[in-house]
């Protein structure tokens, strides 16, 4: 399965090894790991809570991956998103892509995380000493996503 939404931590190296093993024609494996940062707008983040919409989140990620496969030559893709309570420096999300050509692996990996940020139903609540705050979609993330359609 290309998509996993899970409470447990993941091993990025093991995922990359898995993608590499899919074919001797894999020339490039690119991976992105997103981590919990310890500060948000200068406030110290104690932990975050990640929630998702079961069913829709898997479907949304599979749609994003399918779109990436129409745009680039991909031999394998894996997306893992964690849910539940996470602390600073914890891994949140992994996107890994394998292709014969590094340009395809890079672009598709970035495309998938950019669309995940705007099109997949996950929510993060950041807990600081001031209390909890549900993070909203960032304008910068919307702009990054839109670049893929305007050719900028």
């Amino acid at each position: 399965m290309s998509v996993s939404i899970q409470h447990e931590d993941f091993d990025a190296g093991a995922v990359m090894a898995e993608l590499r093993a899919t074919s001797n024609n894999v020339g490039a494996v690119v991976s992105f790991v997103g981590l919990v940062r310890d500060s948000s707008y200068d406030e110290k983040v104690e932990n975050i809570l990640v929630e998702h919409y079961p069913g829709m989140s898997e479907n949304a990620l599979n749609k994003i991956i399918a779109e990436a496969k129409t745009r680039w030559d991909l031999l394998a893709v894996k997306v893992i998103h964690r849910v539940g309570r996470l602390g600073p420096n914890d891994q949140i999300v992994l996107v890994a892509t394998a292709s014969s050509h590094r340009g395809h692996a890079f672009s598709s990996c970035e495309f998938i995380i950019d669309y995940l940020k705007t099109d997949a139903p996950f929510w993060k609540k950041e807990v600081t000493q001031q209390g909890g705050e549900w993070v909203v979609t960032k304008d910068s993330d919307v702009q990054r996503m839109e670049r893929w359609n305007t050719g900028k």
């Binding site: 929630e51 919409y53 998103h81 949140i92 995380i113 940020k117 139903p121 929510w123 979609t137």
Partner: protein, 86 residues
């Protein structure tokens, strides 16, 4: 005839309304998401504050939908704060 739908809540409204899902029978005259939202806001100030269109996104049957989207009987409607995964 009356429509029965399932409403799921995620993110901020789920936490603040202390509700993750409910089954509701829609009164006559409620056929779009916008009308549903306005009707839910009648439940009180707390609801009206949480469910203003500006603060809420929604999906019907697991597809993001606009406020003028039609609701059908047995639909699964989700109301949530703006997404922020990754």
């Amino acid at each position: 005839r009356l429509m029965q739908i399932e409403i799921l809540y995620f993110g901020r409204p789920s936490e603040n309304l202390k509700l993750s899902h409910e089954t509701v029978n829609l009164p006559a005259g409620i056929s779009t998401l916008g009308e549903l939202l306005a009707w839910l806001c009648l439940r009180g100030d707390h609801w009206a504050q949480e469910l203003t269109e500006a603060r809420i996104k929604c999906a019907i049957n697991q597809e993001f939908s606009a406020w003028d989207a039609q609701i059908k009987d047995k639909d699964e409607v989700a109301l949530f704060s703006p997404i922020s995964g990754g």
